[in-house]
């Protein structure tokens, strides 16, 4: 396979998976149990994504500057700080820890 073939095949596969979900009729979500499950699925996916983004690199668990940065973000969210401030503070925390050499 050439690099271009790989790129196009993978892109089509990823796009097709997105479109597939739109073939499910919206009425499926109108039942309370399905609606509730859909809401909870978003929560579960986001929680899992946070974990993956924070403590993993590829297939290994890695503790680095991302974890303290997310803890800072959580503290600010608990204090009802604006969203953009939370994100900036997280980036600054990680950047500062790395610049100081205190975390990878």
């Amino acid at each position: 396979m050439t690099l271009w073939q790989i790129i196009l095949l993978a892109s089509i596969a990823v796009l097709a998976l997105k479109l597939l979900g739109y073939l499910v009729p919206p009425s499926v979500l109108e039942k309370p149990a399905a609606g509730r499950t859909a809401q909870l699925t978003t929560v579960a996916l986001l929680a899992a994504l946070i974990v993956v983004q924070t403590v993993s690199t590829g297939q290994s668990l890695v503790l680095d500057a991302r974890l303290p940065a997310v803890v800072v973000a959580a503290a600010l969210l608990a204090l009802r700080a604006p969203f953009i401030l939370v994100i900036l503070a997280a980036a600054l925390t990680a950047a500062a820890l790395r610049a100081l050499g205190w975390a990878a």
Binding site: M1, L3, I6, I7, L8, L9, A10, S11, I12, A13, V14, L15, L17, K18, L19, L20, G21, Y22, V28, A33, R36, T37, Q39, L40, T41, T42, V43, A44, L45, L46, A47, A48, L49, I50, V51, V52, Q53, T54, V55, S56, G58, Q59, L61, R66, A69, V70, A73, A74, L77, F83, I84, V86, I87, L88, A90, A91, A94, A95, R98, A99
Partner: protein
């Protein structure tokens, strides 16, 4: 654009629908943080052996950050010979977008072309911002604004990263990887007001953390979503505090639904 205070003297025709202003603010906050990370994809893609065009086609057509990083990660270590594995990895990570699509399908509006476009813009962030909004108008605005901001920004930054590459150095020095995690945390935070979603979030986090080392990338997230599929239909751990009480206030709890003893 009118600030929030301008709405104190609303002009009937130009007043935005309720919730739209909040949705736009969230869209910009999430969108800019995430789009900025595209620079890191562009730089890494070129470092893994892709040319600038290939990096840009990935961001234009695949447009799914997790899948894109997975693809170039496998290609970087195995080259074109690792093609099938790279495609499988990208598809696996893209699977969750299909689940998101089911969720946002009623939000995006009608029409074939609109839904086709919505399909392309269905990613973590557009779904998360949309579903975090309180009103239907806000949900729709959140989906489209976030989707467009990230699509345009992500592709622009991919090009920039691919062209500048080494000049930028390691983008993790700017803490953008932590910003992405913080953005997801900010989106899930408002939903954690009742026992049920909190339990689901903790359960999903534990499942993901426990399976990251043993399962291929992408699978832990899908597996974690199953926590919701178990809890949801059975309505384990009860109704959220914010159940629609207003119009049921005069209806006594159904004795057989387990509501009476809560």
């Amino acid at each position: 654009m009118n600030g929030p205070r301008a709405s104190r003297h609303p002009a009937p025709r130009s007043a935005p629908a309720p919730g739209v202003a909040e949705a736009r603010r969230a869209s910009w906050a999430v969108g800019l943080a995430v789009a900025a990370y595209g620079v890191s994809f562009g730089a890494l893609a070129v470092a893994s052996g892709l040319d600038v065009w290939q990096a840009c086609v990935l961001s234009l057509v695949m447009f799914s950050g997790g899948s894109q990083f997975a693809l170039i990660g496998v290609l970087a270590s195995g080259g074109a010979a690792a093609g099938p594995a790279a495609i499988a990895g990208a598809a696996l990570l893209g699977l969750r977008n299909g689940l998101y699509a089911i969720r946002v399908s009623p939000i995006v509006g009608a029409g074939f072309w609109r839904r086709l476009l919505a399909g392309h813009l269905t990613i973590d962030e557009s779904t998360a911002v949309a579903t975090a909004q309180a009103t239907p108008e806000g949900q729709r605005a959140g989906f489209w604004w976030t989707g467009w901001i990230i699509f345009l920004g992500w592709n622009l930054m991919t090009l920039l990263g691919a062209l500048l590459g080494d000049l930028l150095g390691d983008v993790s020095a700017y803490g953008l990887d932590a910003a992405a995690a913080a953005a997801f945390l900010g989106l899930v935070w408002p939903r954690l007001r009742a026992l049920q979603p909190v339990a689901v979030a903790v359960g999903a986090a534990v499942v993901a953390a426990a399976t990251i080392p043993v399962l291929p990338a992408g699978v832990p997230v899908i597996l974690a979503a199953l926590v919701a599929v178990v809890v949801g239909p059975l309505d384990l751990l009860g109704r959220p505090v914010a159940a629609p009480i207003e119009h049921h206030a005069d209806v006594p709890p159904a004795p057989d639904a387990g509501e009476a003893d809560r």
